[in-house]
């Protein structure tokens, strides 16, 4: 900082930064991207290790014997489910009671803001059934949760069977120090949301639920089980939760450690781990795994039932059984033993899981990238915005001194404020409209156009979004005089700083979202001026807008999952993703939709405004 206190050297530094601004920005951008891509390279990452002593050194022995019986229970459950045509509440209550649990039910209902076409839901009514295994000589202060969703059709019966089998086995053991709650939730995430809200007696999303009768104190950790076949080839762990929250890394470590110990193939993002990190294909594999995690995290939606626990500071993950065409099969007894081992270790916890990382990316289950390693990639992108802002600031302060005319400088700054404020207000109002209108006006839209409610909502959103692009000409008329050269510079300066703060805050909470938004918005923000060729730059600016980023992300995500789609299908997928994003917000309180609609989109509109400055 001595550098800055010396006016000469400060001047020299500033001159350097302004003279080399564009090249430095380019270098920063590419360095940021390169850094990010380097994160997947194995020698640059750290091996995972168990930080929690209570889980690390203690040995447990897994003895769960009754996998076959659990599968039989699962079949019985399936038969009753078919007979009742939904969740067999009475049967579950009776079965759990027979296993010596304290059983309670919770009913809930929820009317969606608009019909969900993916799962065909509109008015949802259901019942959760849960049984509490009371730990002997424990004062009901701590609990663990094992849940299995009751899904329609033939899915997930084995998970419920295994859950009941484990309940039966756990009940006869003496070593439990925490209550264990076995939960079968109907309508997967909605049921889980109702149960969690009931348990913590909060109401975030306006759902109707009946209060819970039995509790087990503060929940320390939770696992959600999804299993749809009698044998599996591998187990997949899903970590990404609501708003990109992740459980403590020790939970993933615990899962990995037990998979290694018992000899079950384990995957993350459906990708097996490979050993050939030094080959190109090995590196590609790691990049794919990491990018899938980034995309999923950026979407801000819960990717399994566990995702909703994280809001309540409960470490949770979903474990999915995958049955593919591999030779090596694992039976239910082995999965039961794996879960038994994990629960016994979690039972040993003295404190909540807090030792390991909460912010990380996983290029594979055995390696992780911590926040200290990935943040520089993002920092390199955001520093571009600051450099451009510095450049503009220097230009703005240099201009009046160059004209040597005090009065004109003072007059120039006064319309500056107005010229900044008007576009800011107008673009935020557009954002507010984008947030409010689609759901509010769905009935009107359905009346006047031959579309379904869901289509109406999505198309209204796209219409509002596009209409926002027409605004610059209107904004311009509201200004008192002609837009000046200083005017757009001030506006751009404000917009740059605004974007930098916005992205910085987003990346602190959800790195992936911040990084993806930065990737597309930073180039747009850095180089937009009114003096560029209009048509070409308008095209580029639209291509870099949040909506198009989402469109590209949809295609990219499909590509990563090795399920490429045609443009037609991709477009339909895009529409359903928009609808899904809005539903996630209204149903579970995901913040991505309001963030984009209320902050990111208006910010982008400011740059659009600058492009059409006259």
């Amino acid at each position: 900082m001595g550098l800055l206190s010396d006016p000469n050297r400060r001047q020299a530094l500033i001159n350097l930064l302004t003279r080399l601004n564009a090249p430095i920005c380019f270098v920063c951008y590419f360095a940021g991207v390169a850094w990010f891509m380097g994160l997947a390279f194995e020698p640059f990452t750290l091996r995972t290790y168990m930080s929690e002593n209570a889980m690390g050194s203690t040995m447990v022995e897994e003895r769960f014997p009754a996998g076959e019986r659990a599968l039989a229970t699962g079949r019985e459950f399936a038969a009753h489910k078919k007979k009742v045509g939904g969740m067999p509440v009475d049967w579950l209550v009776k079965t759990m009671q027979a296993r010596g649990l304290e059983v309670f039910t919770q009913s809930f209902s929820r009317t969606l803001p608009f019909p969900d076409e993916n799962t065909e839901r509109y008015v949802v009514k259901g019942t959760n059934v849960y049984g509490i295994l009371r730990a002997p000589r424990a004062p009901r202060t701590e609990a663990l949760v094992l849940s299995a969703p009751c899904t329609p059709g033939d899915n997930n019966n084995q998970a419920v069977g295994l859950l009941l089998g484990l309940a039966h086995y756990f009940r006869n053991q003496v070593y439990w120090a925490k209550d264990i709650i076995f939960l079968v939730n109907e309508h997967d995430l909605i049921g889980m949301q109702a149960w969690l809200e009931g348990y913590h007696h909060t109401n975030v999303t306006g759902m109707d639920w009946s209060p819970l009768q039995g509790r087990g104190g503060s929940i320390q950790a939770a696992l959600s089980l999804e299993l749809s076949s009698d044998v599996i080839t591998s187990l997949d762990i899903v970590l990404e939760g609501l708003n990109g929250q992740l459980p403590n890394l020790d939970l993933a470590n615990l899962f990995y450690a037990f998979c290694q110990k018992i000899g079950v193939l384990c995957t993350i993002q459906g990708k097996l781990q490979r050993n050939d990190w030094d080959s190109v294909s090995g590196y590609n594999h790691a990049v794919q795994t990491m990018m899938l995690m980034v995309m999923k995290q950026a979407s801000g939606r819960p990717w399994g039932d566990h995702g909703l626990f994280l809001r309540y500071h409960i470490e949770a993950a979903t474990i999915k059984g995958v049955n593919s065409f591999r030779h090596y099969k694992t039976d239910a007894t082995t999965i039961g033993r794996l879960l038994e081992g994990m629960y016994r270790k979690l039972n040993n916890l003295l404190e909540r899981l807090h030792q390991s990382y909460f912010f990380y990316l996983l290029p594979s289950l055995s390696h992780f990238v911590s926040i200290g390693y990935y943040m520089p990639a993002f920092g390199l992108l955001v520093v571009i915005l600051l450099l451009r802002a510095l450049d503009l600031w220097v230009q703005l302060t240099a201009q009046p001194s160059r004209t040597e005319d005090g009065t004109s400088a003072a007059e120039q700054s006064s319309p500056g404020v107005l010229s900044v404020l008007t576009p800011l207000v107008i673009s935020h109002l557009t954002g507010a409209a984008l947030y409010m209108l689609p759901v509010r006006f769905q009935e009107v839209a359905v009346e006047h156009f031959p579309v379904s409610e869901t289509e109406a909502v999505v198309l209204t959103a796209i219409a509002v979004y596009t209409a926002g692009l027409a605004l610059p000409h209107n904004t311009h008329r509201l200004l008192s005089g002609e837009g000046t050269e200083t005017g757009w510079r001030v506006l751009k300066l404000v917009a740059l700083l605004y974007l930098a703060v916005l992205l910085g805050c987003t990346a602190l909470i959800n790195f992936s979202l911040g990084f993806i938004l930065a990737l597309s918005l930073v180039p747009a923000a850095a180089f937009v001026t009114p003096h560029l060729p209009k048509a070409l730059s308008a095209f580029f600016l639209v291509a870099l807008s949040p909506a198009c980023t989402l469109l590209f992300s949809v295609f990219f995500f499909q590509e990563l999952q090795e399920m490429p789609v045609s443009f037609q299908d991709g477009w339909l997928l895009y529409l359903s993703v928009i609808a899904q994003g809005m539903l996630d917000h209204y149903l579970y309180g995901s913040l991505v939709f309001p963030l984009v609609a209320l902050l990111v989109y208006p910010c982008w509109l400011l740059f659009w405004n600058i492009l059409f400055w006259k």
Binding site: M1, G2, L4, S5, D6, P7, N8, Q97, G100, E102, R134, P136, R137, A138, P139, R140, T141, E142, R171, N172, Q173, V174, H200, H201, T202, G214, R215, G217, S218, R311, Y312, H313, L350, E351, R352, H354, Q355
Partner: protein
């Protein structure tokens, strides 16, 4: 207004005085079958005869009364020699109640009564049955009444019904001091430290931040009429873990130790292999005789344990003394005037639920916790009880396997609502399951100071309507000095849930105040609900079928309600916790930010900069140094 409040207070005091007077008399009904029991028994026996309508039942009753008389003679003769000095009497008993859930509840009670007076300055130095360590505590600290309990586990009211002696998880201690004590707080502090040594427990962690002076919830259970709560101290340690090191000193207080009598069954490896374990010591002054001219001291040691049917890992559903305690009984404690085992067979009059062996001819009836119960009695002072093998191994074989939830008339639960580490809400739910009667309860909530209660958000609702407490005693907390104390007298409407909610804010502690495991959370002790619950005997409407018509028009006053104390579960609350795992990093980072970031920015903003003269050349500087040495002004 103040007068009004006073009258309310008076009512409350009166109410609870009456509770206290009712409770011990009932307990003695259960406990010693001597004077009050005899009066009660023939009627009870007659009832059994009417229901059983078999000559066998007649025989049973006859035997029972006879044994009672003979036993009394035995006890009289046993009491003859020590008549010279102060009379001491020791009784032991074990009650076994098969529970609805299939679990089994065993409750030991040992009672020593000593007709002596520790007070009025007389020095007691000769101890026989009464433990000397406790006697010295009583006289040194002028204790009038002392109740201490150590509990591992939570009593599951919904499955098990009411316990004989309720206790909260962890340790609980409440003491009434004599009104001659001048500095109660200092005496209390010293007493807790002494008791900590006697019971090998961390009672020394009781300090002013977890000590309460409840105004109405805890009234003296013994004789005496001082109810000024300045002489009462109450504290709980919800985190206290109870194990063998607490059991051993507790057993040492018994006259026979664990050498003979019922106490031989108190093996720690079995007692701590259970669902619930609670041991307690209660000392109080009681009347010597019905005239109550002079007090005698009662020491009651109780141990409650619930064994779990499932975790015992057996296929057959059966229990025996050997399975429960890994011992059988061979003799009573020779020092005991009475030594008995009671088995609750109320739900099993025709042996359709379980089968009891060896069978006993003795039956006893008593009204316990508002319910008329029938017990099979095994008198250990009789050699007949042990049979030919000279050892008693009671066995219970279940026939049916139904374990349903009970609907106890009063039960309660408590939980923390909300998420995040800033605020929260404590919910206390109280269920009145009585179909048509409402009854009052006294709720005592104590919350540590680091949860800052927003008392203006206190809300009491039942059946969707506000329920105004008729008495509220609230003592706000002082940071690091004393906890919140909230006492309320509430009327619970019939068949309803009453919910008490209050919001709180989590305080940020000083960094030395965190426990070594701060991420475990901080405990909030159980709230205490004391109540007079309408008894099920009085609730029974078709009692006219079995009784003479003239006896059953007005409900019997003594049995119309009974005293119950219910403890809710303790809470585990997470407070905002700094990351203690990297203090060094934190210190480094903070120092760097302050030194580099803040310092230089502050410099840049506050200093005015000037362009300094260009640096003189090397030759000139050298010349100046030489000139300075010479004392000539520089160039």
């Amino acid at each position: 207004m103040a007068a009004h409040r006073c009258s309310h207070l008076g009512c409350v005091l009166l109410l609870f005085l009456s509770i206290i007077l009712v409770t011990p008399s009932q307990e003695t009904n259960v406990g010693n079958e001597q004077h009050p029991g005899v009066a009660d028994d023939p009627r009870a026996g007659a009832e059994t005869k009417q229901t059983a309508e078999e000559p066998a039942a007649d025989e049973r009753r006859w035997e029972e009364t006879e044994v009672k008389e003979s036993q009394q003679q035995v006890s009289d003769t046993a009491e003859l020699p020590p008549k010279l000095q102060a009379k001491e009497d020791f009784q032991e008993e074990l009650v076994i109640r098969p529970l609805h859930s299939g679990d089994i509840y065993a409750s030991f009670q040992f009672r020593t009564v000593w007709e002596t007076d520790f007070m009025k300055g007389n020095k007691v130095s000769h101890y026989r049955l009464f433990p000397k360590s406790l006697g010295q505590v009583i006289s040194k600290f002028s204790v009038r009444e002392l109740h201490i309990s150590f509990t591992q586990g939570y009593w599951r009211t919904m499955q098990w019904g009411q316990p004989f002696i309720p206790s909260p998880p962890g340790a609980e201690l409440w003491v009434w001091f004599q009104d001659s004590v001048t500095d109660v707080d200092a005496t209390w502090k010293e007493l807790t430290n002494v008791l900590s040594g006697i019971f090998c427990a961390s009672l020394n962690f009781i300090d002013s931040t977890n000590t309460l002076q409840p105004s109405a919830s805890f009234k003296p259970l013994g004789i005496g009429n001082v109810t000024d709560h300045r002489f009462l101290r109450y504290a709980t340690l919800p985190r206290e873990i109870v194990c063998t090191e607490n059991l051993t000193p507790w057993k040492k207080l018994l006259p026979c130790g664990s050498k003979a009598g019922l106490a031989v069954m108190l093996k720690s490896e079995k007692l701590f292999h259970s669902s619930f374990h609670s041991q307690s010591v209660h000392i109080r002054p009681v009347c010597q005789d019905w005239q109550c001219k002079s007090p005698s001291w009662e020491l009651r040691q109780a141990l409650n344990v619930v064994f779990d049917l499932h975790t015992s890992g057996q296929s057959k559903r059966e229990w025996s003394l050997f399975k429960m305690f890994s011992r059988t009984l061979t003799e009573a404690c020779p020092l005991a005037s009475s030594s008995k085992i009671y088995i609750d067979i109320t739900d099993n009059p025709q042996e359709e639920q379980f089968e009891l062996s060896p069978a006993t001819p003795l039956l006893s009836q008593a009204v316990v916790l508002g319910d008329r119960r029938t017990y099979s009695v095994y008198d250990l002072t009789q050699q007949v009880t042990f049979g030919t093998v000279r050892s008693l191994n009671l066995m219970i074989r279940w026939k049916s396997s139904e374990g349903d939830m009970l609907r106890p008339l009063l039960h309660a639960e408590r939980y923390v609502a909300g998420y995040g580490l800033q605020t929260g809400e404590i919910h206390t739910l109280m269920y009145n399951n009585h179909p048509f009667r409402s009854f009052p309860v006294l709720l005592l909530e104590s919350v540590p100071w680091y949860l800052r209660l927003y008392i203006h958000t206190l809300k009491v609702t039942s059946k969707g309507k506000d329920n105004n407490p008729s008495y509220i005693h609230y003592q706000p907390s002082k940071d690091r000095e004393r906890p919140h104390l909230l006492e309320m007298l509430l009327q619970l409407p019939p068949h309803s849930v009453t919910e008490v909610t209050v919001q709180f804010e989590r305080a940020l502690l000083k960094w030395t105040e965190y426990t070594p495991d701060p991420n475990h959370g901080f405990y909030v002790g159980s709230s205490v609900i004391s109540s007079l619950v309408p008894s099920t005997v009085a609730m029974d409407t078709n009692i006219t079928m079995e009784q003479p018509l003239f006896s059953s028009f007005f409900p019997c006053k003594e049995e119309s309600s009974y005293f119950v104390r219910v403890y809710t579960e303790p809470l585990l609350v997470n407070l905002p916790t700094p990351d203690f795992s990297m203090p060094y990093n934190v210190i480094c980072l903070t120092c760097t930010v302050v030194a580099v970031g803040y310092g230089s920015l502050y410099n840049l903003l506050t200093r005015s900069f000037q362009i300094e003269e260009p640096n003189p050349g090397l030759a000139k500087r050298l010349a100046n140094i030489i000139r300075r040495m010479r004392g000539v002004p520089p160039l």
